[in-house]
């Protein structure tokens, strides 16, 4: 273990930058699991889908992946709304969410992943953009643009989401639906419609998160599996539905993973987020900024 | 401990909070052996929370609960049930995939037998049938709870609690929705149980039933005990009138 100040600083920096990206990845799950109580374990698969969409457009037309993702937001929203509708009719209505709902999303995870494998194969895919490659240097501090840009846009996304949730009518209805569905009904708002909108937004974020992912690293279909634990770890650690909490938790996990990877080797990194998750669940299931 | 009164249940300064919300505060209560206690109060006053704390479903932060001379602190709900506490749930919680007979079988298998009394299969069947008969559900013995009406589900709740052969039975709103004669039936059942030596705490909103059954009434309002005494005295208490009856 070679300890040097430079290494330390850069480990922290890249941890923070990756953390920002992790926050965007988790934002969708904060919505679906943290607020709506839907265990969408397939969320990472939709992120990978977003990555591949960005890839296709980038390879075919040379468009910027982030712009592509923004254009694709409505498509992903509709996908999310459709999935929620099936989920609601099949499970929530019958009151059988737990086992069968989980199994449903688990199945979706595999269907998505394997479909991508069958269509694209298992080769790593990557995109090209002007900010992938250059690195800013401040003395011994390195700021790779391919980490910086997604991080900044992620934080922007989170900020927009937070504004929507707290300032708009729909956003507040979404927060309300997690707490008191009956009250919503009495106000003549259909909680099912609200949840559908929320889940649609959740999957829409996956579109952007996918673009970020493929900017940061090359992607192949099974990459999503690494993110399952990470995403739920950050969601739980961040207080289940609190977006500011998600950001903090994401940065924390990003930094710790970066440390572990730099000083102990990357083969220990997966244990970090999952270990964190276990610790959180054991000690404080309400998370750091608990609800 | 040889006390002057043989109190089956002693609650001392019990307190329970949910985050910032104080559900119960300073509850002290003694229930002597063989008592018929009525526990009343407006909705949300903490009656079910109190039951949950007594039975171990919830943990109280303050105060102690003593049962049969020994403290209940640290004992899980199933251990308390084996010591002789049993309760029915205000909102019925039947085992949906088990028949009524099997629902009754559970406390027999897990509480009664855990106390050391082994029964043969036919004895168990007989006892299950007996419990169902007491509440008039023997015809639906092989049915599933989803086939029951709300009222029948409450009766099942009560029968299930009885099947645990408790020393203290807490009946939480078992009579909601019952007709006049059905209320009489359940009251008669509870009186019979009491005469067999079971101490009973009755939580109800049907004042007629509470008045005729209880030898003592405790009133809970907003998490505090505001009255505890003879039924007639309690009913005439101005604070009780204002807080509960006057509504």
């Amino acid at each position: 273990m070679i300890f040097s100040f430079d290494l330390l600083i850069n480990a922290i920096i890249s941890g923070v930058l990756i953390g920002g990206f992790y926050a965007a990845v988790t934002a969708g799950v904060s919505l679906s699991f943290g607020i709506l109580d839907i265990v969408n374990i397939a969320h990472p698969a939709f992120i990978i889908l977003g990555s591949y969409v960005a890839y296709i457009v980038n390879v075919s037309f040379g468009f910027d992946p982030i712009l592509t993702a923004i254009v694709m937001l409505p498509a992903f929203y509709i996908l999310g709304a459709a999935i929620y509708q099936v989920y609601y009719v099949s499970f929530e209505k019958r009151g059988e969410e737990s086992l069968r709902g989980l199994a449903f999303f688990f199945g979706l995870l595999f269907i998505t992943e394997v479909s991508l494998v069958l269509y694209f194969g298992v080769d790593y895919r990557y995109v090209e953009a002007p900010y992938i490659g250059p690195t800013l240097h401040f003395g011994s501090v390195d700021l790779p643009l391919r980490l910086l840009v997604p991080c900044l846009v992620s934080l922007l996304l989170i900020a927009v989401l937070q504004l929507v949730l707290t300032r708009t009518f729909i956003g507040r209805a979404i927060m309300a639906v997690s707490q008191d569905q009956l009250a919503l009904r009495l106000m003549a708002i259909d909680p099912i419609r609200i949840k559908r909108i929320a889940f649609g937004i959740s999957i829409a974020t996956a579109s952007l998160a996918g673009a970020f992912l493929i900017i940061i690293q090359p992607v192949e279909p099974s990459v999503g599996r690494e993110y399952i634990g990470r995403v739920f770890a950050i969601c739980v650690l961040g207080g289940m539905g609190s977006l500011p909490g998600t950001v903090i938790a994401a940065m924390l996990i990003g930094i710790v993973e970066s440390f572990t990877s730099t000083f102990y080797g990357p083969s220990w990194a997966p244990a970090v987020s999952f270990g964190f998750l276990l610790l959180t669940l054991a000690v404080r299931p309400a998370g750091l900024l608990g609800r | 401990m040889n006390g002057v009164a043989n109190n089956l249940l002693e609650i001392d300064n019990l307190g329970k909070r949910f985050g910032g919300f104080v559900a119960l505060e300073n509850i002290s209560l003694s229930v002597p052996n063989g008592e018929r206690l009525g526990l009343i109060g407006p909705n949300g006053s903490g009656k079910s929370t109190l039951v949950n704390c007594i039975c171990g479903t919830l943990q109280n932060e303050a105060g102690t609960v003593r049962f049969d001379g020994a403290t209940l602190d640290g004992f899980t709900a199933h251990q308390r049930t084996r010591k002789g506490l049993a309760r029915s749930f205000q909102l019925p919680r039947p085992f949906a995939s088990l028949s009524l007979l099997d629902n009754i079988r559970i406390p027999l298998l897990y509480t009664v037998e855990a106390r050391g009394r082994r029964h043969s299969t036919s004895e168990v069947e007989e006892r299950c049938d007996h419990c169902l008969r007491e509440v008039g559900l023997q015809d639906k013995a092989r049915h599933l709870p989803r086939d029951l009406t709300q009222v029948e589900m409450r009766k099942l709740e009560l029968a299930r609690a009885m099947a645990a052969e408790p020393k203290l039975l807490i009946a939480d709103e078992s009579m909601a929705g019952l007709t006049h004669s059905e209320v009489e039936d359940i009251l008669a059942l509870l009186v019979r149980l009491n005469e067999q030596g079971v101490t009973i705490i009755l939580i109800e909103h049907i004042m007629r039933a509470v008045m005729s059954f209880s030898r003592r009434i405790v009133v809970l309002v907003s998490g505090r005990k505001i009255a505890d005494g003879q039924p007639d005295d309690v009913m005439r208490d101005p604070e009780v009138e204002r807080a509960y009856l006057g509504q």
Binding site: F33, V39, V86, S90, R94, S98, L99, R100, L102, A103, F104, F106, G107, L108, L109, F110, I111, V114, V117, L118, R225, I228, G229, F232, A233, V236, P270, A271, F274, G275, L278, L281, A282, P285 | C55, T57, T76, A77, H78, T81, A86, R93, P94, F95, A96, S97, L98, D102, I106, P107, Y110, T111, A114, R142, L144, R146, D147, R160, A161, A164
Partner: protein
């Protein structure tokens, strides 16, 4: 029927399959059959915790891999110390002990968590276990581990026939255990945990104890299923051994077959397992996961009670049945025996 005769019948059936395959003298049947039987054990084991108790375990792969790696560790130990190789049946038992202990430990750590959190925690544990194994060089780490399998063993001929027979015994034992649990007091207890844990606890059911029993037995059986695997496959790779593929299969098979009884996982494993073996040979092995995913989603939406549920609904629709006097309800659960 009591468990003794039942076990005997299972063994006889398994023996008959063995005999038939030996007659056809096609070793491929043994190779494929081994995998199908392995899934019978895995899904039966999963169902004890998942179907009976209602606690979804996403970490089946971890227990399976634990069994496999305990075999590897013991094998390396005996090889290095040049002692006699441990026979597979003993390896199976030892793997069962290791996995059972880990299952107990997992239960102790996670069983206080409600539904979804428990499932996620099991996933987390599986990854942590995988990371530990990958970083343990004695068993080969990320490079993987080789076990040289003898090509023949008397009196069976091809070694894979011996492995197949071991799996027959294991499958018979697993199914017998599941059936025994189902019909015992323990089975009632498990059902109450699944239906309403709070009420169960209030009625005297020691829920934590019972759940720990479930995780221990479930884990032990999964580990035993994994113990012969290194001999079967020859080269053990952590990424695939710990893969989510085992998790999805051990969840899909009971859900498709039906979770309320021992019959469901067996049906699911036999059907889905055979389907996957056929697909691997005719199309590709990647398509397997697509099949599992689609079937899982399909069944969970359309036939939530699995094949058992479909059969029950069909039987209830016959006019001769007394129960048909009630309106036909495809979702009505059947009372457990």
């Amino acid at each position: 029927m009591r468990s003794g005769p039942f076990l005997l019948i299972c063994l006889v059936l398994g023996g008959a399959v063995y005999g038939a395959a030996a007659l056809l003298d096609n070793d491929y049947i043994f190779f494929a059959g081994y995998v199908v039987l392995q899934y019978v054990v895995l899904s039966t084991a999963w169902n004890i915790l998942g179907g009976y108790c209602g606690y979804v375990n996403f970490g089946s792969a971890a227990f399976f891999a634990l069994g496999a790696y305990s075999t590897v560790a013991i094998h390396k130990f005996t090889t290095i110390n040049e002692t006699v190789a441990v026979p597979i049946p003993i390896l199976v038992l030892m793997a069962g002990v290791v996995s059972g202990v880990v299952g107990y430990g997992m239960g102790y750590l996670t069983l206080r968590l409600r539904g979804a959190f428990f499932a996620i925690a099991t996933l987390a544990l599986a990854v942590v276990l995988e990371t530990l194994v990958v970083n343990w060089d004695f068993v080969g780490g990320s490079r993987g581990a080789y076990i040289l399998r003898p090509s023949e063993i008397a009196p069976f001929g091809n070694y894979v026939r011996y492995l197949f027979l071991i799996m027959v015994v294991l499958a018979a034992a697993a199914v017998t255990v599941a059936r025994l649990i189902e019909r015992s007091r323990l089975g009632y207890g498990f059902a109450t945990i699944r239906d309403d844990e709070l009420a169960a606890e209030a009625l005297g059911v020691p829920t934590l104890q019972l759940k720990l029993i479930a995780t221990t037995i479930s884990g032990a059986l999964m580990g035993m299923a994994g113990a012969p695997f290194p001999y079967y496959i020859g080269f053990l790779q952590p990424s695939s051994t710990f893969g989510l593929d085992y998790a999805v299969n051990s969840i899909a098979m009971p859900l498709i077959g039906g979770t309320t009884s021992w019959v469901g996982p067996v049906i699911g494993a036999l059907l889905l397992g055979s389907l996957e073996q056929i697909a691997t040979v005719t199309i590709s092995s990647a398509i397997n996961l697509l099949i599992v995913g689609c079937l899982l989603v399909g069944f969970v939406i359309v036939a939530p009670r699995g094949i058992i549920g479909l059969v029950q609904t069909y039987r209830r629709s016959k006019p001769e049945e007394f129960a048909a006097r009630r309106p036909i309800d495809a979702d009505a659960p059947e009372a457990t025996p």
